[in-house]
Subunit: 541 residues, 2 copies
Amino acid sequence: MTAVPGNEKSPIAMELARKQKSISVAEFFEKNRHMLGFDSLPRCLITCIKEAVDNSLDACEEASILPDIYIRVRKVDDRLVSIIIEDNGPGIQKDVLPRVFGKLLYGSRFHAIRQSRGQQGIGISAAVLYGQLTSGKPARITSKIDPRLPAYMYELKIDTETNEPRIISERVDEFFTSRGTRIELEMEAAYVRGKQSVLEYLRNTAIVNPHARITFVDPLGEKTTFERASDVLPKQPVEIKPHPRGIELGTLIKMMQSAEHGKLSTFLNSEFAKVGGYTAENICKEASIDPSADPVELAKDIDAVKRLMAAFQKIKVMAPPKDCLSPITEDLLKKGVVQNHRVDFIATSSRPVNASRGNPFLVEALIAYGGDIQPEGRIDIVRFANRVPLMYQQGACAITHAIERINWKHYNLEQSKGAKLPSGPIMIMVHVASTNVPFTSESKDAIADVPELIDEVELAVRQAARELSRFLSEQKKAGEARKKIKLFEAYTKEVAQALEDLTGKPASVVEAKLTDALNKKYAKFIEDAALPETPVKDGGA
Amino acid sequence: MTAVPGNEKSPIAMELARKQKSISVAEFFEKNRHMLGFDSLPRCLITCIKEAVDNSLDACEEASILPDIYIRVRKVDDRLVSIIIEDNGPGIQKDVLPRVFGKLLYGSRFHAIRQSRGQQGIGISAAVLYGQLTSGKPARITSKIDPRLPAYMYELKIDTETNEPRIISERVDEFFTSRGTRIELEMEAAYVRGKQSVLEYLRNTAIVNPHARITFVDPLGEKTTFERASDVLPKQPVEIKPHPRGIELGTLIKMMQSAEHGKLSTFLNSEFAKVGGYTAENICKEASIDPSADPVELAKDIDAVKRLMAAFQKIKVMAPPKDCLSPITEDLLKKGVVQNHRVDFIATSSRPVNASRGNPFLVEALIAYGGDIQPEGRIDIVRFANRVPLMYQQGACAITHAIERINWKHYNLEQSKGAKLPSGPIMIMVHVASTNVPFTSESKDAIADVPELIDEVELAVRQAARELSRFLSEQKKAGEARKKIKLFEAYTKEVAQALEDLTGKPASVVEAKLTDALNKKYAKFIEDAALPETPVKDGGA
């Protein structure tokens, strides 16, 4: 141990203070790029494409355009790939474009309370950051906002020390369609096949976005197109006010501080979803606060704000509105699975809108069984959040944790001792739609263990599991009935002969009667239960 | 579908552009506080304490002070708890204090390449942010940097729109010791017992920081003290230059751009760890670049930089220095386990320093078996990163994933079909020490799946597992030998009698000879193998 520095002239604290400095968010994420989904080489490729496709889909929907997205990946050398993602979206206006792609925490959807894929204003600039870090090259973005205007091209990098875009070059450019955006990047990444691949990500994206047409050209030049399955755009989610249930004290104080209305009751009525004039009065009464009190003044009195919070929980406020969300719908979930799999059974469920920390959300689930679903190994869990497939971090996700909380033996499924999941040919699909999906990290691959959310996922999965359980139990009964019939059939002849000997009735007559009785007794089971040979049994809806 | 907006006067892009805006990092994390470890109520409490204790331990070590840390949790009401964390560290100088606690991404350890607990300059300000969000109250921080100077107290909040501290009040204050920092917070949180509890976190912290004295007072006023097990401070990790192996192209370009030396060889020699003059010349030769070339000019030629990168991989450079790391050591890991458990077997391993993306790291592992370790349910995985216990997100962690990659049947352990982990009374402890631990998120609870890192964890665990496998195989042999002896013993008398009848030799003599032969044959197994009744068998080192 060295000398205690407090006894010296200058306290060690002064020495330490000199090292304190601000860290730019770009520097932070350059060092922690794995938090953004840039860790292994195959994941880097998927993350980049995912961020670009998310943006394209969001922008197309906001502009009521049926999305047409083109993705191409090419090998540059042993280490680097080049990626192009192009859409037919509304385009990005010249003066904001450099920041959209060249500044982290810059975006249009962060403050809006409605379902969207992108929320953080990080994703695509993270891809630009990772690209320049590993290839040393700028990103090239071309965008055209109107058929009557020329397209514009920027080559840009992110200045990590300031988190501002640095424009390398810019010019008026060609763009082959009337409107859209193209991004070209070079980065260290790897193209792989299999479960965690670009193709699989795009296939799942197509399932939950049937209004999109997606074309992919792989490094060997092979082209895959996921054609549009529907020409109807999903209903555009509506932006809403925060719901009083689940709002945080600090957020409420901030809202009150910037209130423009002189009266608390008016403030409540106009700034919150589902709070009408009558409810507002009731809340004030419950909190023992004068409805005409000034919110800005009131914000200084923490006890009053706390009473207001308590009243939010006590006074009945209608559930948050559903139109800020855009569920996939049970029908579409089912269609997506049936298009890609042959299954023996399928059930879906959909939960009502709930709220967590003031954010409305809802859960949809699907369970499929049998058919071509692999019976060996880990069961298939397919996760979606706001119509985006979640490809990584399954073990860290609230969806997985909710499924693991269920005792699957109660649902007629096998579950080994100590195993958290059931075994067998099962696929569980869950979609969480929310105005603010609580992802565990900026890479948006796993949903955090928020209690209300896990509960809802569990309820949704259980609901579908009950249908499956019934199906399996019927199947079991039918199987047993068949066994009994077979056993019986094997002895009918002898029994009939014995009865002929005893009663004198001809064996053929006795045999016919016996077979008839047997069929009557077990017909129910055999007809009710869908057996593996029969077509899909729809347990849902 | 509404009308296509491109046909209207103003393109939709202009409408969308108006919504684009910057998001402050504080706003971002206020909305995404779960990314910082503030999700469930019990976790919020642990996260807050963990961030404060991390800071205290780092600061004490930087100032060569044996840490003495006091933590108290009290219930305020049904929703809120108040938390105090106080240390005897060097204190924080008045002019930097508000930003240390009231600004995210502000710190002293972000740019330094050496092992430390805090790296990001986010942790403690995240606790302040969460506190003000849920309690509406400011954090109160008191610090004293020198016995001869007065202590100073600040009450502060974070202005989330600007990510700057807002000072609510400040004054000269009392502080009961000669030096140190105290933080007082109020927040929504819950105190629980069990595996994921404050007490368990502190116990594990004490195990890997035996030089610290930690006192905890729980909400019932019950006091627990983890006394110092050692009066020796761990060797302070030394700050180093980046290692050429694993550095990224973009980082290299940035370094070259700000090079102050006119010559490439001098730049390589002075800015990288383990690159001497001779190695620098070799690198230049391999890259076909003139050693006297100007790095700043060279940075503009991407092909040259790429050749330099390739040369970094080809030319042999010594492994990164170890003194930037502070391993727990195998001995201390073992001591920690033995102090808290009775076990039948224990083995440790420690891997040499490796580098990932230019960051030196090393892995230490321990496997304990039998004794009071629970044989039922999931096996115990105890994870540490830079001497900090990782309490949450086990399923998302590279340590867990590395353990899951191992086929445990090869190591004489049971592993059910489909199970990722072995079963039985097993505890696996892993410590990753790194100059930059790649956490999956800002909450620092799980390590990202960086390939080099998973590989090293797997190697370390396998090394200890081989010892365990030997022990289990010996134990099995000894068990079988005992069975045989018992079987033999049961018949010795009869055999001896039969032999007496046949040969005329007295049964007692024959019996003694038989017993003797038996003992000789099986002695080896019985002595070698430690059986459950025997004391700890140390398989490591």
